[in-house]
């Protein structure tokens, strides 16, 4: 058992999977340069020494190398392909959405596309094009699975599950969760470290995680906002509001069994999402819950419908925070003005 | 073996009628696959209907200056086997 941050846990996960299965390989920019960074967030640091033929550095060509990964996958390899910033997924989207997600269906089931796609998201002071939460653009694509770990234990387990799944899986991580340890920790990083067991384990791709049981309101978050959900629940407990905090974790498919059970129990759902409220994953969660539970009260705490600003006070206002979540939950439970 | 020559969907606007203008072959004529049988006028232009088979024109069933619905049988061809 070791305490690790997400970057290290992922590094171990990737190394273990590559050890276990010679078809697994990594492909992306700057991921295996000797003396380099191990990718933008150190995840692949040093892996090129252990697996010199299976850590492939690409030119700056996201559309191209996501297509290369897809082509390799349909011929039996198991690529782990990554972008340095989730925002760059837009460049690759034709290959991801029109090819990887659809080749099995269009072929009448002849093709398998075992492909893992990793992308860091979230606002971190770099301006609008290196800051977006990208989950919403992929959760609605039939043929893609989408997950979002909030801690090191889940990150490792989900990565392994994704590698072993025979379908295209997008794994989003939040840049502020990569770890307080490690070479490139961001200022403002939340502690997402976990105790990692020594043996092999997976976390299923289609299950949410109830972080704290409660009875009056269900607070749903993922990535950074999973931490906010839990922190808010703990603060609300002090004022006598019993909140259930859930890490949604599986964004496509949603774990509706867990989410509906929670919503049915509490009757009040608060969805916390970093990213513009309009058209977010929260909208899909809200609609899915309301269809099944007439009379359910649902509200969302999300970002304003603006591109991500640079100036720190504006970026902080853009990002949801625990104060807003607590206030909204209180209002939901006790009525407006309580 | 006979095949029906049906008015094909040549119009630019989906599903509009097409006018028979001028037959280029007579009953009894030998035709090859791809050979133009008649001229027709669509909403966009004058164009030709080709024979789908090689054989002999057995019957002509649509007259010039008459509008015909898409799919209507306008001729029959006895196909060479």
């Amino acid at each position: 058992m070791r305490r690790q941050g997400i970057a290290e846990a992922l590094r171990d996960a990737i190394a273990e999977e590559m050890e276990r299965d010679p078809c697994v390989f990594c492909i992306g920019e700057d991921i295996g340069v000797p003396g380099g960074w191990g990718g933008a967030f150190t995840v692949t640091l040093g892996l090129e020494r252990k697996f010199p033929d299976r850590v492939i550095n690409t030119p700056i060509a996201e559309l191209g190398f996501f297509g290369v990964a897809t082509g390799a996958a349909i011929m039996g390899m198991r690529p782990i392909v990554d972008v340095q910033y989730g925002d760059f997924l837009f460049l690759a989207s034709d290959q991801i959405i029109n090819n990887a997600a659809k080749l099995r269906y269009m072929s009448g089931g002849q093709i398998r596309t075992p492909m893992v796609m990793r992308a860091p998201v979230g606002a971190t002071g770099r301006g609008a094009q290196h800051a977006q939460n990208m989950e919403r653009y992929f959760t609605g694509v039939p043929g893609l699975k989408v997950v979002a770990p909030s801690n090191a234990y889940d990150a490792k387990g989900l990565l392994k599950a994704a590698v072993r799944d025979d379908n295209p899986v997008v794994i989003f991580k939040h840049k502020l969760l990569y770890g307080s340890k490690g070479a490139r920790a961001e200022p403002g990083a939340v502690d997402a470290t976990s105790d990692i067991p020594d043996g092999d384990y997976v976390v299923p791709l289609d299950k949410a995680s109830v972080m704290r049981k409660g009875s009056e309101v269900s607070i749903l978050g993922w990535l950074l906002t999973a931490h906010f959900a839990l922190q808010a629940a703990e603060q609300l407990a002090v004022e006598g509001i019993d909140a259930e905090a859930i890490d949604v974790r599986a964004l496509a498919p949603l774990d509706l069994s867990t989410l509906v059970a929670s919503a049915r129990k509490t009757g009040r759902v608060l969805i916390v999402e970093e990213g513009p409220k309009r058209g977010g994953v929260g909208a899909e969660i809200a609609a899915s819950l309301c269809e099944r539970l007439p009379g359910l009260r649902v509200t969302r705490v999300a970002s304003a419908d603006v591109p991500v600003p640079f100036s720190p006070p504006l970026e902080n206002a853009y990002r949801p925070n625990v104060v807003r979540v607590v206030a909204t939950a209180r209002s939901l439970c006790r009525g407006v003005g309580s | 073996m006979w095949i029906d020559v049906k008015m094909p969907d040549l119009s630019a606007t989906e599903g509009s009628d097409i006018m028979v203008k001028r037959w280029l072959v007579a009953e009894g004529a030998r035709v090859k696959r791809g050979q133009p049988l008649l001229e027709v006028e669509t909403d966009k232009a004058t164009t030709e209907v080709e024979s789908a088979a090689t054989g002999t024109v057995a019957e002509i069933l649509a007259q010039p200056d008459v509008k015909v619905a898409i799919g209507q049988v306008i001729a029959r061809i006895e196909v060479d086997l």
Binding site: G64, M75, Q110, D166 | L10
Partner: protein
């Protein structure tokens, strides 16, 4: 003096080209008659590129194709029945009716479903070649695309990566002078596609795409390079489309003189004439190949018209592979 079996191999090339022409002409009339759903993008006039390339490949080599893939499919070994069933949307089609004309393919015969996004198959092909290299299988992938795709970023990115990693990919550009209705010299300052090979540091060749034997020989050279580990090849195959871009296209953007000139260079006629001049076959023999192909098509159509359509239960299958599923 021809090598043993060479006449048979050459006649097989002719037979395959004629089968493609009969298929495409037959499908054209099925469409005009209103019998077939959807749309079609046909390849009459481009039989030599499809057949010449595929004949130089092994059964376990792969091809990627485009929305104009019927000819590639027949050249690679797919049958008229599985293709017609697919075009009729039948569940017995090569893709169970879920793909349609633009996505025909058969993995057991080495063809992935057509990629209908222009250029989209080029990075895919590079990836398939990467797998072959990593798995050390000595397989090759031939990637078909048109002159129009050369303008797409995907062309640049895919060819470049195949080049830097020396991947066993043959990038076969069927240059028919038009991207949809737009002439090539309006979209490229240098309309010689093969010239671009130099900028990627790879081998490139321009070939008479209407001479099936020239195409075949060029592809054999390219495949040998690939299997030797010398990297990808860019083949530019000069050809012409004798049919519209898609179903309702009367080709009014092709000047009459140009059309006539290319009609005089029909790839099937060129090769049939050559074989007759060399005494490999006579006129009756060519006619026999033609009527055999027509017959084959007619029989397949009859079956396809009554082939079973998918049931509603099939709508939501084949999205994901279950664990351990084939």
């Amino acid at each position: 003096m021809s090598a043993p079996g060479e006449s048979e191999r050459r006649l097989e090339l002719l037979d395959r080209m004629i089968r493609i022409r009969e298929f495409e002409e037959g499908v054209r009339f099925l469409f005009l008659e209103g019998s077939m759903p959807g749309t079609i993008h046909q390849c009459q006039g481009q039989e030599a590129t499809a057949v010449g390339v595929c004949a130089a490949l092994r059964p376990d080599d792969f091809i990627t194709s485009t929305f104009r893939g019927h000819g590639h499919a027949i050249a690679k070994g797919l049958g008229e029945q599985e293709l017609l069933d697919e075009l009729f949307g039948a569940s017995t089609g090569c893709c169970k009716g879920k793909g349609g004309s633009m996505h025909v393919g058969n993995m057991r015969k080495g063809m992935i479903p057509g990629i209908a996004i222009v250029g989209g198959g080029i990075p895919l092909a590079a990836g398939m070649a990467l797998a072959f290299k990593m798995q050390k299988t000595n397989q090759v992938v031939a990637c078909f695309f048109g002159d129009g795709a050369v303008a797409e970023g995907a062309f640049h990115e895919g060819v470049n990566m195949a080049a830097i990693w020396r991947l066993p990919a043959i990038f076969a550009c069927e240059n028919n002078l038009y991207g949809a209705s737009t002439r090539i010299d309006l979209v490229m300052k240098n309309p010689r596609v093969a010239d671009r090979a130099v900028s990627y540091g790879i081998a490139g060749e321009t070939v008479d795409g209407n001479d099936v034997e020239a195409v075949h020989a060029a592809t054999e050279r390219a495949a040998a390079r690939c299997r030797a580990g010398d990297g990808p090849v860019l083949l530019e195959l000069l050809t012409y489309r004798q049919t519209g871009h898609s179903r309702r296209d009367p080709r009014q953007y092709q000047p009459e003189a140009e059309r006539k000139a290319w009609a005089g260079r029909d790839p099937i006629e060129i090769f049939a004439d050559r074989l007759q001049a060399e005494g490999v076959i006579d006129e009756a023999g060519v006619e026999h190949i033609r009527s055999r192909a027509t017959q084959r098509f007619a029989e397949a159509v009859e079956k396809a018209r009554s082939a079973p359509q998918p049931s509603i239960d099939d709508l939501e299958t084949d999205v994901f592979a279950a664990e351990g599923a084939p």
